[in-house]
């Protein structure tokens, strides 16, 4: 199986502080890879480093077969068109309507006829469950769940091979979060996506992720499918997965596995 993201001995820091200290992992094609860690453990820093928003201090990051820090401007742009990013707050362009937001990357990178531009954007929005009535709304008129869905549609606009999701279910109620998990899973299957997500949501980890990485103390302390993670003895992983909220889910997972 191909490896889409390959991170080796990554060190990232700000000034005196080292946030990530020797992180290595691989994300394989066609899987949903989830990343967990406590608040401030550097999950978002990791994501932002991979997509090139933060500088690397040491180590290498290879995305879609290219080492981004070494790549030319053109090569980097070519890679950027092959991935989509869902930001935590959606990061929709506030002066464009919902459908214009989805059309934006299409308009920039592909020279489509106006009719097809509309059709494609409409299909993408319907795929994430945004009905035609809402296509002409402005981002400020959307609820939190809808904002995330539109942002997902925009990240999928260019038919990326790889999608980065930053806390896709945070701020959603359990039902919407469940629906969103389901949506990610369906889209991953129909579009053949590889998904790299950062999450706090135990339900999402159990329901969607094929493999999970646990980040603590700037390192990956456990990595693998849920069964492996549940056997981890690292104190943070134990309290997270077997703690007050994680315990019940873990028990359910283990009984299901048996």
């Amino acid at each position: 199986m191909d490896t889409l993201i390959s991170v080796r001995d990554l060190v990232v820091g700000f000034g005196q502080r080292t946030v990530l200290n020797g992180v290595s992992f691989d994300v394989r094609q066609g899987e949903i890879f989830g990343f967990v860690g406590g608040s401030g453990s550097g999950k978002s820093v990791l994501l932002r480093t991979i997509i090139g928003l933060l500088p690397v201090r040491e180590g290498t990051i290879e995305v879609l077969g290219t080492e981004l820090s070494q790549a030319s401007e053109q090569a980097r742009q070519a890679i950027q068109r092959r991935w989509g990013v869902l930001f935590q707050q959606g990061a929709l362009f506030s002066s464009l309507t919902v459908i214009q937001n989805v059309q934006f990357p299409l308009r920039e990178f592909l020279n489509l006829s106006p009719g097809l531009l509309d059709d494609i954007a409409r299909v993408k929005l319907e795929m994430v469950g945004i009905k035609a009535d809402d296509h002409n709304k402005l981002p400020s008129e959307l609820s939190g769940g809808m904002t995330k869905r539109v942002a997902l549609a925009r990240s999928l606009a260019m038919d990326p091979e790889l999608v980065f999701l930053d806390e896709p279910t945070s701020g959603l109620d359990p039902i919407s979060a469940g629906d969103f998990d389901e949506l990610i899973k369906t889209l991953q299957k129909t579009l053949g996506l590889t998904v790299f997500m950062i999450t706090h949501d135990l339900e999402t980890l159990h329901a969607v992720c094929d493999r999970i990485g646990v980040l603590a103390d700037g390192k990956i302390v456990a990595c693998g499918p849920m069964e492996t993670i549940l056997k981890s003895t690292h104190p943070w992983a134990v309290s997270y997965f077997h703690g007050r909220r994680g315990g019940a889910l873990a028990a359910r997972h283990l009984t299901k596995a048996e």
Binding site: L112, L116, D119, I120, L138, P139, S140, D159, L191, L193
Partner: protein
């Protein structure tokens, strides 16, 4: 992305059999080839328009993404003859899910755009503009009213006045504005004097330049230039500040804590402006007179003591009062417009920009209208 090893150029082959047409699609139906694909659809629409389209063979498709799937789905609808739309056959299993998903949404015919009568559209725009102008006036009046209410409440309970905030804003709109105001009014005074000397000299009336500079600066130009500068400098920043607070729901947060946003945010700003503008007007007028005096001396050859002696004769305290009386009212208008526009900002960054522009334009317009009203008023009371 369902990318297979073979990226082949896309193709669409037509075969005709007993009056009905079959199409066979093959190759990479992906975003990279979208131009060619669109052309195929157009051609198919042209040639199949009148014929029955039996089926679209998709067995040769080696790559498919949502772009290709959308176009494939459109292909089933190219025939305008009655009867069920064409079917896609032989599509590889790995693409079936994707196609089904896309087809479900793209095959829905969208409502045709409504056609409007051009005249009606223009009339509607005119009507909307009129209504929004009336709304603007109403919201300005409402803002003035709210400021008055908040002011009265603070008079009754002086301890509730936000002194720190007012001083902070006074520092920003008065103290920090001093250099630029002095510079601009100095230049304006100098220019008026220069023009006066140049033209008055032709009929030997050089010394009346002092009358003109003195009266013009003290009564009109001083206060007007300063008010316009302040509207552009401080009015716009008030609108932008309040607008971004509105966008981030900070104003809603204040309200739910039981605090009045007008009292907390707007009153200190407006009061700072009302204190600042007379001070700046005074400084600006002095600077303009100084500029005029310098030009009279260096360009017109009029010694400074003659200029001052002439100035004493030409102007009276009334001229000075006329200018100073106007300034706090102009400050109130600038502040009220800026704050009213700020509260009108909606969620988008575009609306923040629009309201900030509107704030400056309206404030300057109203300042000039107000100046005209004062001119009539002062003329009728012989001031």
């Amino acid at each position: 992305m369902l990318r297979s090893a073979a990226a082949r150029p896309p193709s669409l082959v037509q075969t005709e059999l007993n009056g009905s047409i079959s199409l066979a699609a093959a190759g990479s139906w992906t975003a990279a080839n979208v131009h060619e694909l669109e052309r195929f659809i157009e051609e198919a629409r042209a040639t199949c328009g009148g014929h029955r389209l039996a089926a679209v063979g998709a067995g040769g498709i080696t790559e498919l993404d949502t772009f290709g799937a959308t176009l494939l789905s459109q292909l089933t609808l190219v025939s305008s003859t009655a009867g069920p739309p064409a079917r896609i056959v032989d599509l590889e299993d790995r693409f079936v899910d994707l196609y089904a998903q896309v087809h479900r949404f793209s095959a829905v015919p969208h409502a045709p755009a409504e056609r409007h009568n051009d005249l009606v559209v223009r009339l509607e725009a005119l009507g909307k503009a009129t209504v929004s102008a009336i709304h603007d006036l109403a919201s300005l009046a409402a803002m003035l009213g709210q400021i008055c209410v908040a002011f009265t409440r603070t008079l009754l309970r002086p301890s509730s006045f936000r002194l720190t905030s007012a001083v902070h804003h006074l520092d920003r709109v008065a103290w920090q504005a001093v250099p630029i105001i002095l510079l601009i009014t100095f230049l304006i005074g100098a220019i008026i004097a220069q023009q006066g000397i140049f033209h008055f000299r032709k009929f030997g009336a050089d010394e009346y330049v002092v009358d003109m500079v003195g009266i013009l600066v003290l009564r009109e130009i001083g206060v007007l230039i300063v008010a316009i500068m302040v509207a552009g400098r401080s009015g716009s920043s008030y609108t932008a500040e309040l607008g971004s607070m509105k966008m981030r729901e900070e104003i809603d947060a204040l309200q739910t804590m039981g605090l009045d946003p007008v009292e907390v945010l707007i009153l200190p700003r407006v009061i700072a402006l009302i204190i600042a503008l007379p001070i700046l007007t005074f400084l600006g007028s002095m600077s303009a007179l100084y500029g005029g005096e310098l030009v009279c001396w260096l360009y017109g050859g009029m010694a400074p003591d003659i200029f001052i002696a002439r100035l004493k004769e030409a102007i009276s305290i009334t001229h000075f009062k006329v200018g100073m009386i106007k300034s706090p009212f102009m400050a109130l208008v600038i502040g009220a417009v800026a704050c009213a526009q700020g509260l009108k900002v909606k969620g988008s960054s575009e609306s923040l920009g629009l309201e900030t522009t509107a704030s400056v334009v309206k404030a300057i317009f109203l300042v000039i209208v107000l100046d005209g009203v004062f001119a009539i008023f002062f003329a009728s009371i012989d001031m």
